[in-house]
Symmetry: C2
Subunit: 202 residues, 2 copies
């Protein structure tokens, strides 16, 4: 803990500083507009020190994307299994998903907008995670349709719209705005259930 | 029409080639990851020839943003005034907005994701256009609420969600997918009306 020189930063700390610096830089200038030098310098490190942890700029994007998507998949799976009733399941999924995209809007923009910058192998891995998130939500929607509580002519496109609505929160949400992530999450829960033909409680 | 040399391209044609090249480059590499040299070369011109039409890379982004937002505002205004009934008005607005974001998805991503790259003056101009688009939709939603045909606890946030749903179509829509822009537009019309508590026709 005492007098760590900047040349030899504590590994876990340096790693997380680099990840945080990469999120900020990619969000501000885009993946292709960012250099590893920018990221290293924001993290208070040399480019050479960056390469100790990440072999390339793409490796940083991959790390961000993997961590971010894994976290969202876990969140969605937990929410879907928090209830037996599809209305409660979908409500919980939407609230968790939307709240997360409002809270982590900067990182969410990066991992949703920079997919094409990943290598083919990494993109396939992240696409598979996205597909799993999709399937969790699609299964909940289908369960509600099967039970006659949800009404939609196209459960597939409706699922896509539900996730799309949540993802776009990351584009427009502002920390300094009047709505908290919980406010948006709660309102969106109601909007999505209405989209599926569920009448509001009150 | 005969033997136009590449050094002195026909002005309107050169201008539109530059705009098309800028859309493609900004969509692929982001504004900050694109150089004027990239754009000029895609348009088959020299960087010097580019500067005859656009003094900077930002001037190109501004042109794209202004043309794109003005077109969407016109589209939304026309749709809103195409009917007297707020259900038909909102349905028409959503169909036009969604179809446009599916058809012009590449350009729509650029003008929605690169707002922060505009100069303060240009950003203020585009923000004002976005605000006008917002207000058209908010007025239609409010009219429906006032007439008791729409039900929402927060017309403002619901309007934002309606537009957000349309804007995010530009992120996920693929020309090679199974759904046409008209398919998505029609389904989204139903989803948005359901969001506002309007029961489907059939």
């Amino acid at each position: 803990m005492s007098s760590t020189s900047t040349e030899t930063p504590d590994p876990p700390d340096a790693r997380s500083r680099l990840v945080a610096a990469a999120v900020a830089a990619f969000a501000e200038k885009g993946f292709h507009g960012t250099t590893t030098r920018d990221i290293a310098s924001t993290a208070g490190m040399s480019p050479a020190a960056l390469y100790v942890f990440f072999p390339s700029k793409e490796a940083l994007l991959h790390e961000l994307s993997l961590v971010g998507h894994s976290r969202v998949l876990e969140l969605v799976e937990e929410s879907a299994s928090s209830a037996a009733d599809p209305v409660d399941q979908l409500g919980a999924v939407v609230e968790a998903f939307v709240r997360d995209h409002a809270q982590s809007h900067t990182g969410a923009r990066v991992i949703n907008y920079e997919l094409s910058a990943l290598t083919a192998e990494h993109r396939a891995e992240i696409t598979a995670l996205r597909h799993r998130i999709d399937l969790v939500v699609r299964d909940v929607v289908q369960l509600g349709v099967d039970q006659g509580v949800f009404h939609t002519r196209d459960p597939h496109m409706t699922t896509l719209a539900v996730l799309s609505l949540g993802i776009d929160v990351a584009r427009w949400y502002r920390d300094e705005g009047v709505w908290s992530p919980a406010d948006v999450a709660e309102h969106y829960r109601g909007l999505v259930l209405a989209m599926l033909g569920v009448a509001p409680d009150q």
